[in-house]
């Protein structure tokens, strides 16, 4: 790639590295795997950057998150069947989530971890990254209607987990 292309890549894509890493953390449920996935995804993004014609900052983010998401899914298939990851990562998650109300956080965080990947990713993309339904549809490759119903079901499950804690929040 030419140096102007690299400078553009730095300016357009790298501001979204935290968003990329956050998505990877929740998809991989493990810090080291998330790092590897993001690095892998960024190398791919660099390779395909010439073909990227997005003008807005949001679309660059959605573009990078799409690559991260696809990289994470193929990584999980290749390196680590989901069933294996569950007990491994719950341990780690307990350490990362705990501040003001440790009990609530642990319950919600663990509930999110237990969601199937297709529910987990829509929650992260919507609640943590603030993507529109259209952008989530682009990133995950499913129709907007499916995004809407997955979000609804994912939230219903998270809310059950909150209530299961003793209903203190409702």
């Amino acid at each position: 790639m030419e140096s102007s292309g690299r400078a553009r890549f730095e300016a357009v894509v790298l501001p979204h590295l935290d968003a990329a890493y956050t998505l990877a953390r929740y998809l991989m449920r493990n810090a080291q795997d998330a790092e590897d996935v993001v690095q892998d995804a960024c190398l791919r993004a660099l390779k395909y950057f010439e073909g990227f014609r997005g003008e807005e900052a949001t679309s660059a983010r959605a573009w990078l998150l799409t690559i991260v998401r696809n990289t994470a899914h193929s990584w999980r298939k290749r390196h680590r069947p989901d069933a294996l990851a569950v007990e491994f990562d719950e341990r780690e998650h307990r350490e990362t989530i705990a501040e003001r109300d440790p009990e609530a956080k642990e319950t919600l965080g663990r509930a999110l971890d237990r969601l199937a990947p297709e529910f987990r990713e829509v929650i992260v993309l919507r609640e943590l990254q603030g993507l529109s339904y259209k952008e989530i549809s682009d990133v995950t490759g499913v129709p907007v209607g499916t995004v809407m119903s997955r979000l609804s079901r994912a939230r219903a499950r998270l809310q059950e987990a909150l209530r299961g804690r003793g209903g203190a929040l409702t």
Partner: protein, 261 residues
């Protein structure tokens, strides 16, 4: 409107994604149905709990460095290739230097070349340290953890200071191999940047430096005190890196002078 319809649409409504007509119908229903109002309030509380309870993450500095290095033209790959090439050529260069030992100007040129090779060596070590899992052997921000860690691993006890108060937190320590010997590598952070400090006992000679070199977007500072040879490498801006080097020099002069030989 049925409860089922309401429950299917309320999330999209709260997300601002429901078409205007549907949204109006939903609001009308909401105004007259306490049960659906409770349902909506539950969802609002869930949102607040998610914001408060599910963190976003910052990409680790080392990851950012690696991606930046890749974006700046695979400098790490190039540096590593040159590093291994040089290992092949070093014995040949040594043989050549023995052959021409009588010619003073030639040895001078080779010494200069050796200085460049050492700077390349240090840079390659810095770049390698940024690859996954290579940054620290002892990840700790506590100088009283990092310094004793080197006991028994090195034949010297490097001065270790934390400069978190000045914006350069200690991230840990590591053994590295530079210039044909095992050296101490201390790792510091500055925002997203990683700073590697390589040091080992200096050959007898006058204190000197610092000298500066910039290669592949990385700055290298080098100086020698009465006790140690220092190399500091980072992609941090040169002014800040010099500021950091100044802190190191001050710390070294206060810690090592009473114990000097």
């Amino acid at each position: 409107m049925t409860h089922a319809t309401f429950e299917a649409q309320v999330d999209a409504y709260l997300d601002g994604e429901l078409p205007a007509g549907d949204a109006r119908a939903l609001e009308t229903h909401l105004a007259q149905c306490p049960e659906c109002t409770r349902f909506r309030d539950g969802r609002l509380e869930l949102r607040a709990a998610i914001v408060a309870g599910i963190p976003t993450f910052q990409a680790p500095p080392a990851l950012r460095e690696r991606v930046l290095a890749a974006a700046r033209g695979s400098s790490s790959a190039r540096a590593l290739r040159r590093f291994t090439m040089r290992n092949v050529w070093r014995p040949l260069a040594l043989a050549a230097s023995l052959a021409v030992v009588a010619l003073g100007s030639w040895t001078l040129a080779l010494q200069r070349a050796a200085g460049v090779a050492l700077a390349d060596d240090v840079l390659a070590s810095h770049i390698r340290s940024l690859m996954p899992g290579h940054l620290t052997d002892v990840p700790s921000s506590d100088q009283h953890t990092v310094k004793p860690w080197f006991n028994g691993r090195l034949d010297f006890s490097p001065p270790v200071s934390d400069f978190a108060g000045r914006g350069y937190p200690l991230l840990g320590g590591r053994l590295d191999y530079v210039d044909g010997r095992t050296v101490a590598a201390l790792v510091y952070g500055r925002r997203q940047h990683v700073i590697n400090v390589f040091l080992w006992p200096a050959a007898r000679g006058p204190a000197g430096g610092p000298s500066t070199r910039t290669r592949q977007g990385y700055h290298e500072l080098h100086w020698t005190t009465g006790d140690y040879t220092y190399w500091v490498v980072s992609d941090l801006g040169l002014a800040e890196l010099q500021d950091f080097a100044q802190l190191l020099r001050q710390a070294d002069s206060t810690t090592s002078v009473p114990a000097s030989r």
